[in-house]
Symmetry: C2
Subunit: 254 residues, 2 copies
């Protein structure tokens, strides 16, 4: 069996997230069906991580085992011909048998998009959360730095049974503005459930001036979800890229 | 009666264009209904020009007469509260009685967006035409300059009864690339039916290397639609802005 790694983009709007669920349109189900039509066998796929309903991916990484002899570039063309247009395969490669998209991920980067114009941009409806009050992105960026490094992020996760540890390492966190669009980007060795969305909801309180910058570090130290801000809605969240050992440093996609 | 000018953005995907038609969801109908709910009278509106089904607007300009005494900023807030999220009022002002959004327009600027990545970008599906073969945007830009100036653009219009003259003046025309996205932008004193879409379809032939750059000027001189390239599909087209006498020069919106 060969181990095939795929790089995927998807618009999460019309999917009930990554993971297969009965009677729901999910990315995993649609992808596995396409692989089944191409190879004759519906192979199970593993992604770097689940994305929730409405969450988008610019560079999700998935792998699956197959006996098919197609060269990797054929997987790109043939799967794209079979997939609906809201999922695209951007690349395929054959990787060692031992490669596992979930377990081997070294870091992942997420972006949360805030539409911060006084009037919501109709072209950003599916891809952002709209905050009409002017946000101070400089204050958001400074406050965010308290989260950088290795910490227990229990204040920034929502219920997730079977989680043994809430300790993660944030390598990079930034808030920046381009025109009326604010990006909150977070790169970490792993993410807790709703972590980027609750970090964003907290930083928005700082950007609005309702929280002093120092309160973000205090919320982190409290290790209590009630001490942090609200969870921002899913449609602003993008999985930007996933990095594996041996990948080059620096932004790998877009 | 007061004369109110509105600046509108709309995502054209789910509209059958600007103009009212029986049993179709159009921008004009949805806007006039909202004005009717706000003022108690469904006022007829005039736009700078019609946009076709699927065509988008970043800065469409519309005016209407009303006896309502609301200050302009109330029109922005109240209409946005009543309009569906795929239309937004970005600004409102009271203008002289004589102002007419169609007749007074000095120039309009359109943008055509081409997704020129090898694999279609799922986030650009509604907002671009995908051309997977690599386009030479430098050649497209050079070839486009033959269209600048005052010409008979009959080669770049599709059937449009009652048209008395096909002479228009293009003030600026550019093709440029940012990553996998190519913009074809055209500013003119007026546009014929499908003019930007047929210019784009023609420039794509140049970008593909199927036409020499010189052939664009020859197609223009022929004054025959059959001598130019195909009409690009509607979803890549955006009305960027409309300029009126007295407006400042330079990009007025975005």
């Amino acid at each position: 069996m060969r181990n095939i790694k795929l790089l995927l983009s998807y618009d999460g709007t019309d999917f009930s997230g990554w993971q297969r669920q009965p009677d729901r349109r999910t990315v995993q189900q649609v992808l596995e069906e396409a692989i089944g039509r191409l190879t004759g066998v519906e192979a199970p796929t593993n992604a770097s991580g689940r994305t929730d309903a409405g969450v988008h991916a610019l560079g999700q990484v998935v792998h699956f085992y197959t006996a098919s002899r197609h060269p990797p570039e054929v997987f790109v063309k043939a799967l794209n011909a079979m997939l609906p247009p809201d999922i695209r395969v951007r690349g395929a490669s054959e990787v060692p048998q031992s490669f596992h998209a979930t377990l081997d991920a070294k870091s992942k980067r997420y972006r949360y998009v805030i539409d911060n114009g006084p009037v919501a941009d109709p072209f950003q409806l599916r891809y952002s959360d709209h905050v009409y009050q002017r946000l101070d992105e400089g204050a958001m960026n400074r406050a965010a730095q308290a989260l950088k490094g290795r910490h227990d992020f229990h204040s920034f996760e929502t219920n997730w049974p079977n989680r043994t540890s809430s300790v993660r390492t944030i390598y990079d966190i930034q808030a920046s503005r381009a025109g009326h669009i604010i990006h909150v980007e977070v790169e970490a060795d792993g993410f807790l459930y709703n972590m980027v969305r609750s970090i964003t909801g907290t930083l928005v309180l700082v950007g609005l001036g309702r929280w002093p910058e120092s309160k973000v570090g205090e919320a982190l130290a409290a290790e209590d979800r009630r001490e942090a801000g609200p969870t921002a809605p899913p449609q602003g969240l993008f999985l930007v890229y996933v990095r594996y050992p041996g990948d080059p440093d620096g932004p790998s996609d877009r």
